[in-house]
Amino acid sequence: MNYPKPDTTHGVILYMEDVSVSFDGFKALNNLNLYINDGELRCLIGANGAGKTTLMDVITGMTRPDAGTVNFGQNIDLLKLNQEQIARYGIGRKFQKPTVFEALTVYENLYLSLHMDKRLWATLLHKLSGEQRDDIDQVLETIGLVSMRNRYAGELSHGQKQWLEIGMLLAAKPRLLLVDEPAAGLTVQEVERTAELLTSLAGEHSVVVVEHDMSFVRSIAKTVTVLHQGSVLAEGSMDYVQSHPEVKRVYLGEEGV
C-alpha cells in the first residue's frame, strides 16, 4: 500500500505532452500539451467537442491515447496504470452527473472513500480507527453535511450530492482533483457555496475544473486554459484569455466571452 508520491520538485504535478486521441478518424485530442502546477486551481473551458471530457478520460485511465505521454509528477507514468491504481496514486475525479452511492449513508460514502488500503482482504477485515473517524468528521464539516451524516445519499438534493461527491474526493486525500461541471444544475446559493469550497481546496490540492458557466469560472480561476479542437488555444488569466484574438474569433458570439 506504499504508493510512490508524485515528484513535484519542479512545481508541476501533471505533465501532458503531445497527447493525441482519435475515434474513428475524429481527432478528439490533437497534440495537446498541458501542465498543471502543484497546488493551483485551473479552469478548462472550451466548446462542446473541444476535448475536455476526453482529456479527463485520458488522465484517469478510461481512454488510452494513441500518442503522447502523461506523467503524474516527474516520476509516475499514468499510461501504465489502470483506473483503480490511478485513483490510489492520488488522482480523484468528479463526474458531470453526480454519482454517489445512493444505497449508502453519507457517512458510509465517505468511509468508503477514505485514504487507506483498498485491497480486498484489508477491506474485509477493516475496523475504523479514531483517527479515521476524525478525518470523516472533518470532511463532513468542510462540505457542510454534518447534520446529514446518517441519511441515505439517495435522499440528498442535487447540490448536496455534488458536495458529497467532492467530499468523497477529499476523504481520499488526493493530490490532484478533476472536477467536471460542478455548477451544472445548481441554484445560485449552491453555486456560491461550491465556488467557496473549490477555492478553499486549492493549495493543499491541485484542482482542475471543467466548466461552461463563465461567471463561475471568473469567480474561482486564477489561470484559465482554453481548448479548441483538441489542443490548447490559449492559456493565462481570465482577462488575458478574454482579450485573446484567437479566442475571440473562435468564440465570437458564444457564451458571452
Binding site: R93, T99, L112, T123
Partner: protein, 375 residues
Amino acid sequence: MMMNWFSTSLRRVCLTLILTGVYVVIANVVFPEGSIFHVSSYTVNLLGKYLCYALLALSLDLVWGYCGIMSLGHGAFFALGGYAMGMYLMRQIGDRGVYGNPILPDFMVFLDWSSLPWFWSGTDSFIWTLFLVMAVPGVLAFIFGVMAFRSKVSGVYLSIMTQAMTYALMLAFFRNEMGFGGNNGLTDFKDILGFSLQSNNTRLVLFMLTVITLLVAYYVCDKIVTCKAGKVVLGIRDSERRVSFVGYNTVSFKVFLFTFSAILAGIAGALYVPQVGIINPGEFSPINSIEIVIWVAIGGRGTLYGAIVGALVVSFAKSKLTGLMPEAWLFALGGLFVLVTLFMPKGIVGLINNPEARQALINKLSLRLARKKGA
C-alpha cells in the same frame, strides 16, 4: 433489554432457526405418532430439503441482491456440490450394489469400465469429499468470475453467460462417458459415514446439520454485507465505475463474492443429496437456476432473510400445488415471475417491512384497474 437484543434481523433469524430446529427434533423424537405435536419423519426430511433451498437462495441473494450479479448458474454450483457428495455416497455402497463390485459403482460396471476414472480417486474419503464439495464450485466460479468480471461482462450478458455455462454442464453430465452415471445420475445410496441413510436418527442428524450450516452461513453472510467490504459491494451494485474511481479494484470484490456464493451453493447441494437420495443431470437444467432467482425475488432481494423466506414459501407452495394440480404449477410459477417483477420489486419482505411499499402496490394495482375500466 431482551427486546433490544432481539432487534437486529441477524439475531431474529438465528433465534427463529434455532427454535424451529430444536422444536422439530423434539416433536419428532419425544411426541409419539398420532399426537398433535408430533412431526413426522417425512416432514423432517421435507423441511431439511427446504432449508437446503434456503441456503441456496441465501447464496444467490448475496451476489444478486447485494452486488447486482444475477447469476443463472447457481443451480450448477448446487448440483456440482451435490455430485461431489453423491460420489462419496456411491463409494459407500461398496459391494452391496447390484453387480457386487467392491470398488466400481454399478453404472461403471454396466459400462464395462475396468477401473475408476482419475477424478473419482479419493472420493471414498469423507474429508476429501468435503474439500471437493467446496472446491469444485468454488474453482469454477473463480475462473468464470475472473474472466467475466475482468472483461467487464455484466448485467444481462452475465446472466446469459452463466446460463450458457449451466446448459453446457447439463449436456456434459447427461453423457455416460463423463463418468457421473449419465442420465440416471447417482442414486441407491446406502450409508453416510457408516450410518444408514434410511434410519430416522441419521435423517434427524442431517436435518440438524442443515439447520446449523444455514445458521453459520447466515451469520457469515451478515458479517460480510455489514462490514466495509459489504458497503463496497453495494457501491459496485449501484455504480461500479464510481467505486473504481474511489480506488477499489472492483473485479477482486466481485470475484470474491461470486466464489464465496458458489461455495455456499455447493454446500447446499451436498446437504441436499443425502436427504433426497439422488442427484442427476436434471439439477443442471436452466429452469432450476432461474427458480432460485424467483425465490429470492419473491422473498425480497437485498435482505438476507428475504431470500430464506422466499425459498421456503415458494417451495412449500410448489409441493402443495403440484400435489393438488400438477398442471397448474408452471402457470403459477410463470405468473409469479411476471407479478413479482411488475408489482413487488422488493418482495414479500419489502411489503411487510415497508408500509410505503404496501401503499405503492395498492396504488399501482388500483391504477391498473382504473386504467382498464377507463379503456
